[in-house]
């Protein structure tokens, strides 16, 4: 009897449309105004035999932006707000700054970054075709294919996995490079420090 029920449930799940999966994934995700944690990024780049591994910490504020601080193999910071994108190497030797008001395409990049990190599926569905499945009692997987020609130039596809939070992001770039980013020690506290708030206010 249990088996029959399971089979029915499976069939039911298979028959459910992708849209239902999306809404189910949304139900499983925590609605977070703030998220911080550690990351490990493995990037496969043509011309490099081994994946380029970097580790660090990140902070996401839904209202203000993203801080992406790499600690290994070298220190560098990336600050992405609704207004600008700036990067700086720990030594201060190299830096650059892009202004969203001058380069409005940046606004779209920011929106995607926010959405990816926070699992804002609704925002992602505006620019991607979303397919997905539920895994176990809490998990889920989504595959995003860009529908926007601008994004198609950057990404071939994006895979997201997670439960209450996004745990794994795999970016397949249009030019063949790919990155896998794993998140760890995710939490919704503490709030941004003064230094962090200062960077986000830029």
């Amino acid at each position: 009897m249990k088996r029959v029920l399971l089979l029915v449930a499976l069939l039911w799940g298979a028959a459910a449309s992708a849209r239902d999966v999306v809404s189910q994934v949304r139900e499983r995700l925590a609605d977070v105004p703030l998220l911080r944690g550690d990351f490990e990024q493995k990037k496969t780049v043509s011309g490099f035999k081994k994946p380029l591994v970097s580790r660090g910490a990140f902070l996401l504020s839904r209202e203000q932006g993203v801080l992406w601080d790499t600690k290994q193999p070298f220190a560098s910071t990336l600050t992405l707000t609704r207004k600008s994108l700036s990067a700086e190497q720990g030594t201060g030797a190299a830096a650059y700054h892009l202004d969203a008001s001058k380069e409005p395409g940046l606004a779209a990049v920011n929106e995607v970054m926010f959405a990816l990190l926070s699992g804002d599926v609704k925002a992602l569905a505006k620019r991607f075709k979303v397919d997905g499945e539920l895994v176990g009692a809490e998990g889920w997987k989504l595959t995003l294919t860009p529908t926007d020609t601008g994004l198609q130039r950057v990404f071939r596809s994006i895979h997201l996995e997670g439960d209450k939070y996004v745990r794994r992001v795999q970016l397949e770039e249009a030019r063949g490079d790919s990155s896998v980013i794993l998140f760890d020690k995710l939490s919704q506290t503490p709030p941004p420090s003064d230094a962090e708030a200062g960077r986000l206010a830029k």
């Binding site: 990024q41 490099f48 070298f74 779209a108 620019r127 490079d177």
Partner: protein, 765 residues
């Protein structure tokens, strides 16, 4: 002999008829204001530049569809797109999509290493190896970003910046598969269209305009609060065509009706109406055919102007019938012979005056001059060759004609009485005061009559999109393309500070897309050195051995760039070879304040091969030059006409001359008192006044005491007034000013001419 002339004229008329059929089928009509303007005699390359810029825009239509938020704007754009993409639509969507960018990326990819922005050039030449290495590592380890190449082909990530600098030429950016921009409180979608029909084909008029209006209505109905701004030459052309055709019918049909009514009132007979009508129709048809044959295309304004011809060409018919009234049919031929000297002299002065319009090298004016002169000659020939032949019946004197003719005896005549001298002094004061107040204006806008909403849409679109101005630009010339590109670079270096000071928002130059060969080689060397350092730093840090990609051994040449579809936007600015030199145009964006023009113009100072072109100013100064020239010609014309009159009428010549001189002065005085400025087209009106005003005096002197001459003059005056008065209603400022000049001048001359008539019983001889 008589019949021979009539038959000969018939043959001419028949061939004109055949030509007319062909002409109206192919409808080779011009509506472009530029076609009216003269070639710049000093710099043919400026003309070529302007034409090339205008040609390119000839069929393009640009549209911004906006709403409060991006979603509504997209919906509004979809409605407009659906509406304008229907099968019967005269418009076709232009490609503004990603495929165009991919074509461009493919073209430029082999030359990536030699395409640097000026800030990159500056940075690369002074950055330390550590800084270069650090930047390369940072960008390498960053989560996916906007890369346009493999890492090896652009280790410092320079290329996206170069493209961003190119993209900065337009405020529109790709967003969700559309071109988006934000401004004036709205989000906008940019749409571009290409007209599938020639905007100049008369008959289909209002085609694009109405399609756009339909799309606008559908959009406003389905997306409340949405807004559409559209601009393009086809809209202007259609507006001009529909305005011209409505003016043609007002002026042409209006004055024709008035003339025929006068003929009916005076003669109460169908024959004069038919014959005068025939002479007018033939005058216009011959004029149109000859103009079309000489100029290939006829401008719409020529037709509008030509419509007023009716008011002049009927004079000959009036003279014939006025003299013929009450005489037996057998006297027709001697009567015509008696009228011919006066008619020929009048025709000659009018034709000379019309042709004088064509002295100015304005193609538009030359057309009008030729049109009017041939029209008059044709109307005259019709009267001379056909009227006596066809006019065989009786033509009794009507009471209207008698009463009218008798009015001459009651008309005041100038005598040496104190009252007349007081009147003369008052008139003198009026004239001097008016002339004192008379100002001038030489503004190209006189030629334009575009509806205000089109002009304001054009401005708004230019503001939102940051489009370059087509009226002011730099013309850069050199011995070969390399020199032109180098000179462009020198010019841009001097423009950059103005951009930094926000005098301009930017410029668009071919060298932005195609640096000179020397610059490409230097930049390739610079980036090779810097990127080698960056790659070796990355190799050290990662323990791997990445290599920098190889690039083309050759430079990107103008031929390569221009043969690619990727260069479509920049191609009109590359003029190619004209004479011994190669030319290009550097266009300016955000030049909204005319007061900064002198500062911008100064940039060309000291730069070899660079010329500042201000089309608006040049046209205005040209208008001014010809206003002065024609003004001088009028004075000479008055002297020449006086000599001609003296040769025929001896001491009485002043009687035909003074009224016209006074007509001219009074007209100018009226303009002065009314605050209307003197401009080229006023002067041209005065020129014509000289030719036509003297006619009345000539007829009065040729046939003194002849009531029928006065009747003819009176009728001619009234009908001329009507037709030029109607021209005064034209929406084109130039034509209106011309019409007003003729109206005021003719009234004055018509009133004054009988005052100067010979005392009764006296004869010229």
């Amino acid at each position: 002999m008589r019949n021979k002339a009539a038959i000969l004229w018939l043959l001419v008329v028949l061939s004109v008829g055949a030509h007319q059929v062909w002409f109206w089928r192919s409808a080779r009509l011009d509506t472009d204001v530029l076609a009216l303007l003269p070639e710049d005699e000093q710099a043919p390359e400026v003309g070529a530049a302007t034409r090339k810029l205008a040609d390119q825009a000839g069929r393009e239509l640009v549209m911004l569809v906006g709403a409060e938020d991006w979603d509504s704007a997209q919906r509004a754009a979809d409605v407009v797109k659906a509406e304008l993409s229907r099968d019967d639509s005269p418009l076709k969507a232009s490609a503004l999509d990603a495929s165009a960018l991919d074509t461009a990326l493919d073209l430029y990819r082999p030359y990536r290493d030699r395409l640097l922005t000026s800030s990159q050039r500056e940075w690369l030449s002074k950055a330390s190896p550590e800084e270069l290495g650090g930047t390369a590592l940072m960008k390498l380890y960053q989560p996916a970003g906007p890369r346009l190449t493999d890492w090896e082909a652009d280790p410092l990530g320079l290329w996206p910046d170069w493209w961003a600098a190119r993209a900065a030429e337009s405020t529109a950016r790709p967003r969700d598969g559309r071109l988006w921009l934000s401004g004036e409180g709205r989000e906008w979608v940019l749409l571009a269209w290409h007209s599938q029909v020639s905007a100049f084909a008369l008959g289909d008029e209002g085609n694009i305009t109405s399609a756009v209006a339909r799309a606008r209505a559908a959009m406003e109905a389905q997306v409340p609060g949405s807004r559409m701004v559209s601009a393009g030459v086809p809209l202007y052309a259609e507006a001009a065509a529909s305005q011209a055709s409505s003016e043609m019918s007002t002026i042409g049909i209006g004055s024709l009706a008035a003339v025929l009514l006068l003929v009916w009132l005076t003669f109460r007979s169908v024959r004069p109406i038919v014959l005068v009508g025939v002479s007018l129709a033939l005058g216009c048809a011959v004029a149109l055919s000859v103009t079309a044959l000489v100029f290939e295309r006829v401008h719409l304004l020529t037709l509008v102007f030509g419509s007023s011809l009716v008011g002049v060409a009927e004079d000959y018919g009036f003279h014939y019938f006025a003299a013929r009234q009450g005489k037996p049919p057998s006297e027709r031929w001697p009567l015509m012979r008696g009228l011919l000297p006066g008619m020929v002299l009048a025709l000659a002065t009018s034709v000379v005056a019309y042709l004088a319009l064509g002295v100015a090298p304005f193609p538009g004016l030359r057309q009008m001059a030729l049109f009017s002169a041939t029209g008059l000659v044709a109307a005259f020939l019709t009267v001379a060759c056909w009227f006596p032949l066809l006019d065989t019946g009786e033509l009794p004197v009507t009471s209207f004609a008698t009463r009218f003719a008798a009015s001459l005896s009651r008309w005041p005549r100038f005598t040496h009485t104190p009252a007349w001298w007081v009147g003369t002094a008052a008139l003198g004061l009026f004239v001097v005061g008016g002339l004192w107040r008379l100002g001038t204006r030489d503004d190209v806008r006189q030629l334009q009559n575009a509806p205000a909403h089109l002009i304001s849409d054009q401005r708004e679109l230019g503001r939102l999109l940051g489009l370059p101005s087509p009226a002011q630009f730099f013309l850069v010339g050199g011995d070969d393309s390399e020199q032109v590109l180098e000179r462009e670079a020198a010019l841009k270096a001097k423009l950059d500070p103005l951009v930094a000071q926000k005098v301009l928002t930017g410029y668009r130059a071919v060298s932005d897309w195609l640096p000179s060969a020397a610059r490409q080689r230097a930049d390739a060397e610079l980036s090779a050195r810097a990127e080698a350092q960056a790659v070796s730093a990355v190799a050290q840090a990662t323990g791997e051995a990445p290599t920098r990609a190889r690039f083309s051994d050759d430079v990107l040449t103008p031929e390569r760039l221009l043969s690619s579809p990727a260069s479509a936007a920049i191609r009109p600015q590359w003029l190619g070879r004209l004479g011994d030199s190669q030319f290009s145009i550097v266009m300016l964006r955000g030049l909204n304040d005319p007061s900064v023009l002198p500062r911008v113009a100064d940039v060309a100072q000291g730069l070899e091969g660079v010329r500042w072109v201000d089309k608006t100013r040049e046209i205005s100064s040209l208008l001014e030059r010809y206003r002065e020239l024609m003004g001088g010609l009028i004075v000479l014309g008055y002297v020449a006409v006086l000599l001609l009159l003296v040769a025929r009428f001896r001491r009485q010549a002043w009687r035909a001359w003074v009224p016209t001189v006074l007509g001219t002065l009074v007209t100018l005085a009226c303009f002065g008192w009314a605050g209307e400025p003197l401009q080229l087209f006023t002067v041209l009106g005065l020129m014509l006044l000289l030719g036509m005003g003297v006619d009345y005096g000539i007829f009065m002197l040729e046939h003194p005491g002849d009531d029928s001459a006065w009747l003819a003059v009176a009728l001619a005056g009234v009908s001329t007034l009507l037709s030029f008065g109607l021209l005064g209603l034209s929406a084109t400022p130039a034509l209106r000013s011309f019409g007003l000049t003729m109206l005021l001048g003719e009234v004055t001359i018509w009133v004054l001419t009988p005052c100067c008539r010979l005392p009764s019983g006296k004869d010229v001889s």
